[in-house]
């Protein structure tokens, strides 16, 4: 009897300990892959920063489920002058910041001016902007020196984002985390949690929710982001019910998630594309024939299988946009996945290749990068290359790839982005340094015309150039595995998941 009482007492204590912390309703616990580097979304292009900060900072525009740009803090879509150089943006009235102040066009103009000055994506467009100013309390005017059609997509993107801060908080650094979003920052214990609470004075848009656009319902009182760097720990956390949502799970966990009665898998199909980025500034890859030899030598199918293990999680697909996307075109893609060692050897001969090692820079930070590199090394050696795999940690890779003398290829990946011009790798000023007069002309036209069909034709020319010139190689498409509680609803599948419309069943 005493033993039984003891067991009951222990079980009660255990349920008290675990129950209060984890079963609290109206709180959604989200396991993210690590601590965000900053709470200032202008300053970072990292996805984890976007995922967290989009709940408390908002942009003028956003994307709906069809990746169309739609207004968020802007009242409507802007009025654009006929020459495409002048944008008049009406701002919504009655929007309150988390500190109680009211948003007006001066806050927006100062925020955009900071974005142009400090954000990586803002700086990329700075040379095309003459001025950003408030023409009255609720209208912002952007004057360009050249037409630039991706501008609205840039303003809508949550990555290196053009968010709006209160004017008085804007400086070189942002003095306080104060936005207009549906949730506000309540507490932040680094590496432990980021607690967001519902912002009572939030004014939602009236349109139905659709992707990131429309009504933001604030169904949950709190959102807690919990940095959990170890992917196995995220898996156990979602399976145990400790987390309601877990980002970035290893693909091997899918069977356990499918078998669980507490959690279920969410497969983001497609998530993104692994990339072999080429150095055009220095070294072997300044020679076109070397790049063509690499393209001819690779067996992308084998590489993807080695990297992802399960063909439910990858697709051997060369075109730069996946099936079903507006930008999809097969132009030039016959050069993909040819795995022709003889053709590669021919290019090497043409290049006068002297056996200098081809340096591939990668890391174990993302295990699939390393696995891709290993198979690529075998393919390239079979074609006659000497290959040097430089496997370093992520911080070192981040430093080395900024020095063109230290690498020939580095491996990275990216989600599919709605607007191709937001991909910096096409730009001659990017880290890759891809310069080609014809490509610059196509790119210039692509970013200045606004007719979607005309742009689509231009993009297909751009893609053709990618396969001809090999500035980088898309290895294929891959899917991402996320996990969610069986009781969690209202979460859209996206690389940047948001929870303002989430609900948890009782």
């Amino acid at each position: 009897m005493k033993v039984l009482k003891g067991l009951i007492a222990a079980a009660t204590l255990a349920s008290m300990m675990t129950g209060t912390a984890f079963a609290a309703q109206n709180v959604v616990n989200v396991a993210i892959v690590g601590e965000p580097d900053t709470m200032d979304p202008m300053m970072s292009t990292k996805d984890v920063v976007s995922i967290v900060t989009q709940h408390f900072y908002e942009t003028l525009f956003t994307f709906n489920s069809k990746f169309e740009v739609v207004p968020l803090l802007a009242e409507t879509m802007p009025t654009i002058s006929d020459d495409g150089k002048s944008y008049s943006i009406a701002i919504r009235k009655g929007i309150t910041f988390h500190d109680g102040s009211t948003m007006d066009a001066h806050d927006v103009a100062d925020s955009l001016n900071r974005w142009v000055k400090t954000a990586s994506r803002g700086k990329g467009v700075a040379d095309k902007i003459d001025s950003i100013s408030a023409s009255d309390d609720f209208t912002v005017m952007i004057k360009m020196n050249t037409a630039y059609s991706p501008l609205l997509s840039l303003l809508a993107f949550s990555n290196s984002a053009a968010v709006v801060y209160p004017q008085e908080n804007i400086g070189e650094d942002i003095s306080a985390v104060v936005g207009t979003g549906p949730y506000k920052l309540e507490a932040h214990k680094p590496d432990q949690y980021i607690q967001l609470v519902k912002f009572d004075n939030y004014v939602s848009r009236d349109e139905p929710s659709d992707g990131g656009s429309g009504a933001r319902t604030q169904s949950m009182d709190e959102i807690r982001f919990i940095p959990v760097p170890d992917s196995n720990t995220r898996v156990e956390g979602i399976l145990s019910g400790q987390f309601d949502f877990a980002d970035g799970l290893p693909v091997e966990a899918i069977k356990r998630l499918e078998a669980s009665d507490k959690a279920e898998p969410m497969v983001l199909r497609p998530f993104g594309w692994p990339i072999f980025a080429f150095n055009h500034k220095d070294g072997l890859n300044t020679n076109l024939h070397i790049r063509l030899a690499v393209q001819a030598a690779l067996n992308e199918d084998d590489m993807l299988f080695a990297a992802f293990g399960d063909d439910a999680f990858f697709v051997t697909d060369g075109p730069l946009y996946p099936e079903g996307w507006f930008w999809r075109t097969d132009a030039g893609a016959s050069a993909y996945n040819v795995h022709d060692a003889d053709a590669a050897a021919g290019h090497l001969k043409e290049a006068g290749y002297d056996g200098t090692p081809l340096r591939i820079l990668t890391s174990h930070q993302y295990e699939f990068h390393f696995k891709l590199a290993e198979v690529a090394k075998a393919n390239l050696e079979a074609a006659g290359f000497k290959v040097q795999l430089d496997v370093v940690d992520w911080a070192t890779l981040g430093q080395r790839r900024n020095n063109p003398e230290l690498w020939d290829i580095y491996i990275t990946h990216s989600p599919f982005i709605a607007e191709p011009a937001l991909n910096s790798m096409y730009s001659p000023t990017s880290r890759l340094g891809w310069k080609d007069a014809e490509k610059e002309a196509i790119l210039a036209e692509f970013t200045s015309v606004s007719d979607p069909e005309q742009r689509k034709v231009l993009f297909s020319k751009l893609q053709e150039k990618v396969f001809e010139q090999v500035p980088f190689i898309k290895i294929g498409g891959f899917n991402a595995l996320l996990g969610k509680s069986s009781k969690l609803n209202g979460v859209t599948k996206t690389p940047w998941p948001f929870f303002w419309n989430a609900t948890i069943d009782d």
Partner: protein
Amino acid sequence: MPLYIARRLFGMLVVMLIVLTVVFVIVRIAPGDPAALILGPDATPEDAIELREKMGLNRPIIVQYFSFMTQIAGGDLGRSLFFDTPVTTLLYQRAEPTIFLTLFSLLIAVSIAIPIGIYAAYRRGSFFDQSALSLAMLAAAIPSFWTGLLFQQYIAAGTGWFPVSGYGGPDANFFERMWHLILPAIVLGVVNSALILRFTRASMLDVLADDYIRTARSKGMSERRVVLRHALKNALIPIVTIVGLTLALLISGAVVTERVFNLPGIGSLVVGAVLRRDYPTIQGTLIIVAGLYVMVNFLVDMLYLAIDPRVKY
């Protein structure tokens, strides 16, 4: 004795100066750029240069070194590049889980190791002794991350009695936070018990073979008294030494266990700082850890005086 303490304190100061310099040099020699990491994959090299300038990382190394030493002399461990928070604040925030994890796991380790070590020595060569040694070997050989993952899968997720990871949310009270430490403390406690057990057994075996033990027995003293009063007391010095070293090791952060159980302690702080090349945090944490190490060793030496009256300084 006062002269000995003064000498030791001076020695500790010299050690700390060497540690400061070595730590500063090592983190600067390691490749990697905190600015590039903060800015993310799509930032340009020019952006990274600009941020490095802003963070003061483009100053000559010697200037950075003297600025670092001046800061330390003033009791300032610097400001985290990543969290934009004073390193002392970060250490203060991370101290609680590490201190309690250390205490719990040490308690578990000592509770397992010392009684078993004593009994194994007393029953040398017996089945119990052989089993204890084999289990100790096994505990030391199994990596703690593997045990941790098994505990997470079968005990935490399996029963739902324990949290899988973390240290509780914003509304977690002290007891809830401590509840998060139970499984990691068992994992660490079992691993660390192996070494203490082997030291206890070896030390007891030495003492049990001494003449005064035979004398005690020949006087008709009970075995319990012989073992616990006469033998154990004389066997304590190596045991206290190894317990002290284990304590110092645990304070410095049970890096792997903290990582697996996602505990926001000093171990995970230093690992995160290394991965992010957060120089001030790496430096500040290592200085404090080195200081604690030196201090624990000093205290263990002082403890010898209380344990063994024959020890004189």
